[in-house]
């Protein structure tokens, strides 16, 4: 639209020869640069600000800082133990052992790595999945129902967000030990089900995303509370749900300390503990040092979580934006 206006203006200038002679170079120049710029990118408005060189540099540095460890991991997963010791850390060694490393990681010690991977999946599906379900149900209830003690629940949840999981680990261990649940998958799954932060997030999200008027309309139309929740509230809560799911998945996938004190049987280790156990092997008399397998194992460990992030990213983004604009 703007482009055609500019060309029309310069066209209208053509009839008068004297004006043309004076204005032509300037107009031509202006219109050329103007159209080129406007065709190339959008004008600089508050939503599309002028690119800033220092900002680009800083962002570039942060990007490098973020990607460097990942690059290091990928590069070093191609080396065997000798290569790790005698080649430069950020470049490849002479020989590539990538596929060999992966096969050895998956088969070392009777394929215990695969077992750990399956354990981690179990903890994530049952623990993080369960935590999300509980957070959604709880958050919705707290946001949309009046009941006595709601303020007390709020205080407890806010307080719980502030307590680090590490501080609760030992009391939880003693409690589970009394119940005879240590050394079983339950000892990891049950504590993972509780996510005060997730509950708080769902509460805030439900209060914003689900209009009370909508629920009232549904009630007037004779819909029961459960039906209202599943057919009306739940779809509206989806972005928030995915966010909570993502957070709890990452937290459960990376969980180290809880399984560390709960689980002694390597058959029930998650990947984090398993990799650490391999690392500890190098620290004893007669133990076998397997640094190459630990690095390859670490790479394999982060692949699923990276994949999940990429797949769920768009839901998560819309989730973060929801409720930020007053309509």
């Amino acid at each position: 639209m703007t482009t055609s206006l500019t060309t029309a203006a310069s066209d209208s200038a053509t009839p008068s020869p004297d004006r043309r002679a004076a204005a032509a170079p300037a107009t031509a120049q202006r219109s050329r640069t103007g159209t080129a710029k406007r065709r190339g990118r959008l004008p600089h408005t508050p939503l599309h600000p002028r690119p800033s060189l220092p900002l680009t540099l800083v962002t570039g540095l942060v990007l490098l800082y973020t990607l460097l460890p990942l690059a290091w991991l990928v590069i070093n997963a191609t080396k065997d133990q000798n290569g790790l010791f005698d080649s430069f850390g950020l470049w490849f060694a002479d020989e590539t052992h990538f596929w060999d490393n992966i096969t050895r990681t998956l088969t070392y010690d009777d394929g215990v790595f695969v077992r750990w991977l399956l354990n981690t999946l179990l903890y994530v599906v049952a623990g993080a999945g369960g935590a999300t379900v509980l957070a959604v149900l709880g958050g919705y209830a707290l946001a949309k129902y009046e009941f006595p003690g709601r303020r007390a629940v709020f205080a407890v949840v806010i307080g719980a967000v502030a307590v680090p999981g590490t501080a609760l680990a030992v009391p939880t261990f003693l409690m589970f030990s009394n119940m005879g649940l240590t050394n079983t998958p339950w000892a990891v799954i049950i504590p993972s089900l509780i996510s005060p932060f997730g509950l708080y997030l769902m509460w805030v999200f439900a209060a914003e995303a689900v209009p009370t008027e909508l629920l009232e309309a549904a009630r007037i139309d004779g819909s029961g509370e459960l039906r209202t929740f599943f057919t009306i509230a739940l779809p509206l809560l989806m972005p928030g749900t995915v966010t909570v799911l993502l957070f709890s998945m990452v937290a459960t996938w990376n969980n180290y300390f809880l399984p560390l004190i709960m689980i002694k049987d390597p058959d029930w280790y998650p990947l984090t503990l398993g990799l650490n156990a391999w690392n500890a092997q190098a620290q004893t008399a007669g133990g076998e040092a397997v640094f190459d397998l630990i690095i390859t194992g670490s790479l394999l460990t982060i692949v699923p979580i990276v994949a999940v992030f990429l797949l769920l990213q768009r839901y998560w983004q819309s989730g973060l934006a929801a409720g930020s604009v007053k309509e």
Partner: protein
């Protein structure tokens, strides 16, 4: 790395908690169930005939083969081998399980230095009732002394031993034309010469390691710990200890020790690239070198440990572990049967073939063992040096009944000598004081 060290610290705190709880229970129980008269060798045979399951907590890799052999020989018995962590991590887990009253294994691997803690807490079985006394002459004196600890009770059966030897990177010494030291004074000279020839090279690494320090004091003739029941003496001022501190202080003052922690990735790297030129360590080290530092194969050699007095042949033990049967074990007879199988006779020989260092005289003196050549050490018959060292281990050494705790505070006390102007002597004094205080708090009579 930071998370690792803080986890360790937390585990250390847990260990202390567990020890407190354990000692509390130990004080409450009486001595009537000390293990005697409950079982006999006949019961062990009956249990083997009946069969069952034995849970073993151990990190020693050669036990896997032994467990398979045992199951083949006794098809009714099922051995479940669990790696519940190494060293103090496992002891923490073990004590937590014992305190919690559930989840303890039937057999547990316990290093010699840690055995006293479990023995004094009466949380492990006295194996003499099962028939373990007959092995008095089966094992070499060092390990046997460590599992019997002065009394007639046998707390465990020795699994391996760690007579010390001197491992050196021949390539590095040859390159700079430096003689391999035979005394600790020559060692200091070699440390200076190596570091001068190439500032990247250190004679060895040391950031403060309780096991290494006590072993060298042991070799120098120091006997800082004396234990008689609950009477304990701690004294780091004897002649042997002084000899050790005088020499080691020189290395510290002249910054001749690499600030690299043993068993870290940097340590393995240093051993591989020649920047750490020697190790004075237990005879189990070849297995770690072969698998962890394969790149340096052919560079390394073994020699007897440098001596404090020229012409001497004294040695000491470094590391080594035993198999014990916890009081909480479900099937103690079967547990003993496996312990016996894994530590004596064919089980022991199998483990030696798989790379473990023997604690049994027969294996240590066998021709096959002595004649083994190590391609890693350029074809050297290294076992001859290790066997010689095992024969020359200084007598009458004992650890504290709470050595696990004492070792856990080593870096807070002696460790200061490595990072500040504090001297080793002052560091050891601080370690002694802290150990005395802790012992008294635990109900021991210390330095009365």
């Amino acid at each position: 790395m930071r998370t690792h060290s803080s986890t360790r610290r937390l585990l250390g705190a847990l260990a202390v908690l567990a020890t407190l709880a354990l000692t509390a229970t130990a004080c409450g129980s009486d001595d009537s169930n000390a293990g005697t008269g409950e079982s006999s060798p006949k019961d062990v045979q009956a249990a083997l005939d009946k069969g069952g399951k034995v849970t073993v907590w151990a990190w020693e890799p050669t036990l896997k083969k032994v467990a398979e052999d045992f199951e083949k020989k006794y098809p009714k018995v099922d051995i479940e081998l669990i790696n519940a962590g190494t060293g103090d991590k496992q002891y923490t887990a073990l004590q937590n399980a014992m305190t919690a009253g559930s989840g303890a294994p039937d057999v547990a691997q316990i290093e010699y230095y840690a055995l006293g803690q479990f023995a004094i807490g009466k949380s492990i079985e006295n194996l003499s009732a099962y028939g373990a006394q007959k092995y008095g002459t089966t094992f070499t004196p060092g390990p046997w002394n460590a599992v019997t600890q002065g009394g007639e009770a046998i707390h465990a059966l020795p699994m391996d031993s760690g007579p010390m030897a001197f491992f050196y990177n021949k390539k590095v010494f040859d390159k700079h034309g430096i003689a391999v030291p035979t005394t600790w004074d020559e060692y200091v000279d070699a440390a200076r010469a190596l570091h001068k020839a190439d500032p990247k090279i250190f004679i060895t690494n040391d950031t403060g390691d309780a096991g290494a320090t006590t072993s060298l004091i042991w070799q120098a003739g120091g006997r800082p710990y004396k234990t008689d029941g609950t009477d304990v003496t701690i004294d780091f001022t004897d002649k042997g200890t002084k000899q050790y501190t005088a020499t080691w202080q020189k290395l510290l003052d002249e910054k001749l020790l690499a600030p690299v922690s043993s068993w870290s990735d940097a340590w393995y790297k240093g051993l591989a690239d020649g920047s750490l030129a020697t190790l004075s360590i237990g005879a189990w080290m070849p297995a770690n070198l072969t698998s962890g530092v394969a790149a340096a194969s052919g560079d390394w050699r073994v020699a007897p440990l440098p001596q404090w007095t020229k012409g001497d042949k004294t040695s000491a033990e470094n590391g080594g572990s035993s198999l014990a049967v916890p009081k909480a074990a479900k099937n103690k007879e079967l547990a003993y049967a496996f312990t016996e199988f894994a530590t004596t006779g064919t089980g022991a020989s199998t483990r030696v073939t798989e790379g473990a260092f023997p604690a049994t005289r027969a294996d240590l003196e066998s021709k096959a063992f002595l004649d083994t050549t190590f391609p890693y050490f350029g074809g050297q018959q290294a076992n001859r040096i290790f066997a010689e060292s095992a024969r020359n281990v200084g007598a009458n050494w004992s650890y504290l009944p709470y050595q696990v705790y004492a070792n856990s505070i080593f870096n807070d006390t002696v460790g200061k000598a490595y990072v500040s102007p504090t001297t080793l002597t002052d560091g050891l004094k601080a370690w002694q004081d802290a150990s005395i205080t802790y012992g008294k708090d635990q109900g021991f009579t210390v330095n009365k």
